[in-house]
Symmetry: D2
Subunit: 331 residues, 4 copies
């Protein structure tokens, strides 16, 4: 049975998103891992680094030759660090799903301004597909390179994209709150337990890199303020906008994802706990005199990163879109 | 030394705000408690109910005759429940500081609509003083009845009032996040540890009672969305508005509270941990193309309730405004 | 494919353990739910009560006739409340897995003393099998009625049973710490977020009901002290004992569960995060001059309740023991 | 009024204990700070480093000449790092309170074995006084050098010392649990929010440095196991022992601290929340057939470090022992 599974690898499996992909693939019915890489942990067994993990593999380096034999590779390296590695994979004929922002932007000039780096492979940027599954299924199916969307971005785009495509939302403000895993695995006093617990803060006001990603995909400027929650995982975005047609907007929100197993309109306001540890996005809307407030929730490590990456793999290989992905939040 | 202290009492000392007043007065240099009341705990010693509390008093009922001998009484009863009791105190010549919303509104019709109850003492509403200390010091000094502001309200009014008085803020949106103690002491599964921990949610969208209180005091409509943080204490309000004059707005924010020991403009964005367990409010502002974002933080139980109540008492009796109030946040 | 799955139901699906069974069965490859009951929620859809849950069922009452058509039923009712219902199931020829303590004790007199109630079905107590999977696989396979072990009990018995069977542990003290979900879904101020967060306490010193369950199964008296952790899920038991043969004890601990997918000896001391959200138990031991300290961790809702219940079902029906059960802890 | 206050300084004010001393002295009625040092922050204002802190001072280096003018200096440097600096203070005639373990041990050989370093000032070790306030008041009063006890140690010694002095406790096991601030301010992924939150672990089994400190002071070997709680502050120690005389032991525990404002026997089991943010220690005991379990709680940063240091200062200068120290736990 294992033999019929597709072969995958995770490059950069030391970070939270990478480790979550490892976890999801470990129980996936149609895929298996043949390599996981981490420069920091090269030569160590995965089970020793993440103690207790029932994974048989040993960390290798990003150029482990086994990787070239994969059907698809997940690249979970920091921004700009992995762009060339992704390029080598594609050049070798290996499909790739990139968790970083390197191949997400249509406008390379914008990318280079936002990330302060020259893009090493503009040629691939042209063929990369933006992996917001529910909106780009057909392109993802045949993509060589999928750029997995940002976590905050996913929470905002899923409710807003249908509205913006029909001119039903203007003056958009996104007040977003993320769990601390969104900052990545860090040895940094600012992310220590004593600094985060019983605390809450805004950061990146007017400057966060997810703002231009949201704006590019929506085709309109947005005001975006991220905040740091004292929880491990989950994003809640409170979205304010004006609409010229409340009725059309609410119908749009209720119907846009009718056939999507992971995206759901809710009559009650969704909480993070309803989607934590799942690959789902839930949102609800309230209207008053032309003003609208949407509350949208996802798990930042799943629908906002590793889960959407696996969902993209499922689409790329024609598997059931929900294969290996949790739908049901634990207590 | 004790004899020279003024005599106070707390009516409704079973709730979080009431208990925090008890704690503050217990180490206040110029005030002492002669009675604490709680129908639920009548006859029990405070130290037995709040185990370990080094308080010598026994809970009595709200009509404990000792209360009439007080110089000032804190009433920490739920909305509408305490309005008549406050009235009796004032009728007896005892000054009162009411933690509830009963005497906060200028417009009684608005109060009655928001709280769904007929006000029992419109006569007293006319003489009550709104206890936002930094704005009403002179009136508070001579007030018989002080209406302590709401917690969310305080976090929003302190930065916004100076701006609105000068027409420097329009299109105001307040996205506020509060610690769970803001909901009060509750036996309710929705506030159980397992429901709140690792969770975050919006509530009261378009309907929260603090919205009309903010709007009345600012003299302009605002959009207000409260959220529930998995922390015990603290409020952070992210405030969005448009301004016609960025320079004037920032100068106003930096100077409005120059002589106020508890209110401080910060160049860096303040976090809840900077003010938790203190009576301070900190805020900072960021501007971009006529759009402004203010981040304002307080401790909801201190500057948002018990601390501001004691600050009001300090003003009423001519004590140093900071007497008995913490300025310095613990780790 | 659905048709080939066995039919199950959960009686008492309003509690945490019941809901976790619903969640596990929802993605189980060989079982499906045909009924979930909850008196409190009768007539409501599961997805409305646990908002966002992608479950199609509607809560019924415990005597829902559909239940009699099940292959096996999970009963997750409070102690003594479900003993008769379990009896009716068995009388009807339906196999049952009881999450409560009702059928766990060999000694009914002890049960009646500990739980302060007359046992309604002593006849069934005689045929019930204690569902500590790794120790009773053969009996569980053919059992009509499986009594699922207590959560604290599981964390202690897995390391201690092999030792006690060989006389390798005496003077046993179990200092156990549990996440708050162990107390169940509660509307009780003592379990409110503000009472639990940033707090920690011991309870039930010398009196907790899991002490006699542990003692009966080990065949020796133990000192057991439970504590309440400010986390949602997980138990860590620190176990102190004396041994006459350190070498034999450590060999026993390392080898007793060699072929058990869910139980693992670890060289490093295991943390709760290594097993949270999994059905695994990990433990490690340290020895010094005849004194031994074992640290044992489980997820109280999975290996300590719902997970072990499903593992019991897997054994009863000849499924792969790990089917539908998570092995890999998330971040 | 300021002029009549004694002059103090904190050397090593970048750590949690140092900052808590700064906070306590800032509102102390009889002491004021004239210098705070931190190599890492030299030249920066305290209010900029700990944003929001209403402290007027600027960090200097540990040899700031102002320090020599102090009446007493708090040294909050890591073990061994501060021993020479303490020595220079004493040589200059400045009294010192050392938060580290450097001067705590009677037996220097034991100290050097436990801390793996040669002691630079054995001469001063001979004159240092162990600052467990309730037990050494008379010596502390006249001490030039006070060695502030360890946090875990304080939680254990306060209930155990009276018993051990009278031979009322044997076979002592201390299962201790500490909040994360006990590990100090750290840039270390192992203390990151995501590693600590929803987690719990034992560490230092058979090897923690507080075990020999406890054993030396009690005059008997103990088994000591520390654990790391996902809370910011507080220690709860669960202490197991055998006693030959339950009646005498309980009387001893109830009476030993009758006149001590900070130490209290409680009939109910004390929780960490009863003492967090205070300088108090509470404990309670349960007995059964010659076995005893004591639960003892303190705030690790106050009674376990900064608070006890200030209490020592109060004793050294003849101030009211409770001056400037919180007795009343917040919500």
């Amino acid at each position: 049975m294992t033999n019929s599974k597709i072969k995958t690898a995770v490059i950069g499996a030391n970070g939270y998103a990478g480790m979550e992909i490892v976890r999801l693939i470990s129980s996936h019915p149609h895929a298996r891992l043949i390599a996981v890489t981490s420069r920091a942990n090269e030569g160590k067994r995965v089970c020793d680094v993440f103690h207790g993990t029932p994974c048989e593999l040993t960390f290798t380096h990003p150029h482990d030759p086994a990787i070239k034999g994969c059907d698809v590779v997940f690249v979970a390296l920091p921004q700009t660090a992995g762009a060339s590695i992704v390029g080598e994979l594609i050049d070798s004929g290996v499909r790739a799903i990139d968790i970083s922002a390197d191949y997400r932007f249509d406008d390379l000039t914008l990318y280079e301004k936002v990330y302060g780096a020259k893009h090493p492979r503009p040629d691939l940027n042209d063929i990369s597909v933006y992996g917001l599954c529910e909106h780009n299924r057909d392109e993802i199916k045949h993509a060589k390179l999928v750029a997995n969307p940002g976590c905050y971005v996913t929470s905002a785009l899923l409710p807003l994209l249908p509205l913006c495509k029909h001119g039903l939302a203007t003056d958009i403000i996104i007040d977003a709150k993320s769990g601390t895993s969104g900052a990545g695995r860090k040895s940094d006093e600012a992310y220590s337990f004593c600094a985060i617990d019983e605390n809450f803060k805004a950061y990146g006001v007017f400057t966060h890199r997810h703002a231009p990603e949201i704006s590019e995909k929506l085709g309109t400027e947005v005001l975006f303020t991220p905040h740091l929650l004292p929880i491990k995982r989950g994003i809640l975005s409170t979205i304010y906008f004006k609409t010229k047609d409340e009725g059309a907007a609410v119908e749009m929100l209720k119907n846009a994802y009718k056939d999507c197993p992971f995206v759901q309109y809710s009559d009650t306001l969704p909480e993070i706990s309803a989607v934590a540890h799942t690959n789902r996005c839930m949102f609800s809307a309230r209207f008053d005199k032309g003003r609208c407030i949407i509350v949208s929730v996802i798990d930042n490590l799943l629908k906002g990163a590793a889960g959407q990456a696996v969902q993209n793999m499922n689409i790329m290989f024609g598997f059931d879109e929900t294969a290996g992905l949790p739908l049901y939040a634990p207590i």
